[in-house]
């Protein structure tokens, strides 16, 4: 774990409290700063306030679903280009990945989350972000 990783802020968006707690504990143990939001609306407000480098976004949420939140984030005039979005979904279906591509998501992890896979994807997206910044 390099020193720069510790500065990154990750916004976890999930309506399930337990999921958020588990992800927060894991990500904080790896040196990330974690912000959270229980729904899409709060997530969009958080985007402007905490300016996360990466958003872990649950697909199935009441109200605005994850795809819609993702599209909104990616269309944000200020943060859209620089915020990486990793979708978290219960299904591993092809159609879901396709929807991910269409909504502009950067990557994808399947629930139940495999931490090794999650960490790998968080790291590769943050690295890609550094390259293009």
């Amino acid at each position: 774990m390099s020193a720069t990783d510790s500065k990154h802020t990750i916004l976890v968006v999930d309506d399930n409290r337990d999921n958020v707690d588990i992800l927060r504990a894991f990500l904080e143990s790896r040196g990330y700063v974690v912000a959270e939001a229980p729904d899409g609306k709060t997530a969009l407000a958080q985007l402007e306030q905490v300016k996360p480098e990466l958003v872990l976004l649950d697909v199935m949420m009441p109200g605005m679903d994850g795809w819609e939140v993702c599209r909104t984030i990616k269309n944000h005039p200020q943060f859209g280009g620089s915020t990486k979005v990793v979708m978290v979904t219960a299904k591993g279906a092809f159609e879901d990945k396709f929807e991910g591509l269409r909504s502009g998501a950067d990557d994808y992890v399947v629930k139940p989350v495999d931490f090794k896979d999650l960490l790998e994807k968080v790291q590769r997206n943050l690295a890609a972000r550094e390259r293009t910044a």
């Binding site: 591993g92 092809f94 159609e95 990945k97 396709f98 991910g100 591509l101 269409r102 998501a105 950067d106 990557d107 994808y108 994807k121 590769r124 997206n125 890609a128």
Partner: protein
């Protein structure tokens, strides 16, 4: 922060570039035009709201520049050749000035202080006013192109009508952009539209230089443009034709250099025109609105005349068998050895060069079976000459072809296909298959005779993996939109990975189409894609066999 340099001096440009790096600003440099003409490019750029402008002192331009920058809260630094010029700069109220030559460090300092001053110059209430002004301007000028929008046009059009008693409208219609979006995705279409707008803008700027009569241009928000022109009545027709031809050539050349002939060959430009005369009984804005509708209808009229000419071209093509075939290699990803070739048909006549146009015209004219037959015949005729005995031949088949009785029962046998196992029929996912059971029946007949199948354009969005599985293909060809830029896009990698897994489970081979760069090749190789196709594997010899710039798809 964005900085605009408006200067011709090379030394100063270098210093400014250094300064921009120092203060971390994005720099654009525009060269002032020779002579004293008003630089429209400069004022168009100001509408995109850079934070700072460094401008050379030009007689006549300074006052207006100061007004425009102040209205937007942009900081203005004036580069002066000596004390005298510096006094002038101060007199018009520049935020900062400097005397050339200047070092990068000095330029950076001046830029900083101008930025600070421009911020202070905004009185508390004024900030709101500036914001209001900007919103207003956005309504009046298209953000994409910088062209005035309809409200501005109406106003100026009315002026011309009243002054000259006459106004000519040119409506420029771009056709087939929707097809482009379908094939290459919206990002590509946006890029092409931007190029088109730039090209129209250049054309307009150039024309206006030596032609007093072309007055303005507007963008209708989608992909059409309207020119207002003030042409003498007796010349209207000739001038309009000349202008339309020149514009078409210019836009086509620009799109071709920017995006390749495949894309340039896809679309067509039609110009419709109408001339309005002042009528004191009718409100001028209504006259103009009607004029726009008339000109648009005229453009569509031209389009339909062109189309019937193309149908005539196609009939001639069929009679003369004027198509030629190019064979694009498909290689084994692991070894880069040639596995087979895809046959792609091109029309010999220029208007029908693009396969999209060629097949599009055939479909409209109800000649698709005839064209398909010709293309298959030509492709198979060239088989022995272009392919080694162990190479497979990939042929594009439209789902409609299966309803063609000659295709189903005679055609391929008559053509002397001795080894059906060497032929792979590609069925595009783009055409919706309505009657699955019947279609599967057709496929079975062919499969029993030894032919193999590929699903073409998979992942282009029309069908999921389920419907691909229904066709029981031997190959899946991944759509170009999934492959282009895959090395940088994890979502695309995820998708392709899933498709390769699916294919391996069903004993299907995956072909990646449209691989153009080594990085893309490395990415698909890592993902386990079995076969690969694309410009990266076109050797020089093969390119030479193709007439210059032949497009890439379909057959």
């Amino acid at each position: 922060m964005r900085v605009l340099g408006w200067l011709g001096d090379e030394k100063l440009s270098e210093a400014l570039a250094g300064a921009a790096t120092q203060i971390g600003a994005e720099l654009t440099i525009l060269a002032p035009p020779a002579g004293g003409a008003r630089d429209e490019q400069l004022f168009a750029f100001l509408r995109t709201h850079p934070e700072l402008v460094l401008a050379e002192l030009r007689r006549g331009a300074l006052e207006e520049l100061r007004q425009e920058t102040r209205a937007r809260g942009i900081g203005l630094v004036v580069a002066c050749a000596g004390e005298e010029e510096a006094r002038q700069a101060v007199a018009v109220g520049a935020d900062e000035w400097l005397i050339t030559p200047a070092t990068a460090g000095e330029v950076a300092g001046r830029l900083w202080s101008a930025a600070a001053r421009a911020r202070r110059a905004l009185a508390p209430g004024q900030a709101e006013q500036v914001a209001e002004h900007l919103r207003y301007e956005e309504l009046l000028y298209d953000r994409f192109t910088g062209f005035p929008t309809l409200p501005v046009m109406l106003e100026r059009g009315r002026e011309i009508l009243e002054r000259r008693g006459r106004l000519t409208l040119l409506y420029i219609e771009f056709v087939r952009y929707s097809k482009l979006e379908e094939i290459y995705g919206w990002q590509k279409l946006d890029e092409v539209l931007q190029t088109t707008a730039d090209a129209v803008r250049e054309f307009y700027d150039e024309r206006r230089g030596d032609d007093e009569h072309v007055l303005m241009v507007s963008h209708t928000g989608d992909d059409d443009f309207i020119f207002f022109a003030d042409l003498p009545a007796e010349q209207v027709e000739r001038q309009v034709n000349e202008m339309a031809a020149a514009l078409e050539t210019h836009v086509r050349t620009r799109v071709e250099t920017g995006h390749g002939e495949d894309i340039a060959g896809l679309f067509e430009i039609y110009v419709g025109t109408t001339t309005l005369f002042r009528n004191p009984k009718v409100r001028p804005e209504r006259l103009i609105y009607r004029g726009i509708r008339e000109a648009a209808a005229a453009a569509r009229g031209v389009e339909s005349r062109e189309r019937s000419r193309k149908v005539a071209d196609l009939k001639e093509t069929l009679r003369e068998e004027a198509v030629y075939i190019v064979y694009h290699p498909i290689v084994v990803t692991a070894t880069r050895e040639v596995y087979g070739y895809e046959a792609l048909a091109r029309g010999r006549s220029r208007a029908l060069r693009s396969p999209e146009v060629l097949f599009g015209v055939a479909e409209e004219a109800n000649l698709i079976w005839e064209l398909s037959r010709l293309c298959r015949k030509k492709a198979i005729e060239g088989l022995e000459q272009h392919l080694e005995p162990h190479h497979l031949l990939f042929l594009n088949i439209d789902p409609h072809d299966f309803r063609d009785p000659t295709f189903r029962y005679l055609d391929l046998d008559e053509l002397g296909v001795e080894h059906p196992e060497r032929i792979v029929l590609e069925i595009t996912e783009r055409t919706a298959i309505t009657d699955y059971p019947k279609f599967q029946g057709y496929l079975r007949e062919f499969r029993e005779r030894g032919f193999r199948f590929a699903v073409d354009d998979a992942g282009s969005g029309y069908a999921g993996l389920g419907s691909i599985a229904n066709l029981e293909p031997d190959f899946i060809k991944l759509d170009i939109s999934l492959i282009s830029g895959i090395d940088e896009n994890f979502m695309k990698q995820n998708l392709v990975e899933t498709m390769v897994q699916f294919a391996n489970d069903h004993e299907i081979q995956v072909i990646a189409e449209g691989v153009e760069r080594e990085e893309e090749y490395e990415a698909v190789k890592k993902l386990g894609v079995h076969l690969t196709q694309g410009f990266l594997f076109h050797d020089a010899q093969q390119t030479r066999r193709e007439p210059a710039g032949a497009p890439t798809r379909l057959g």
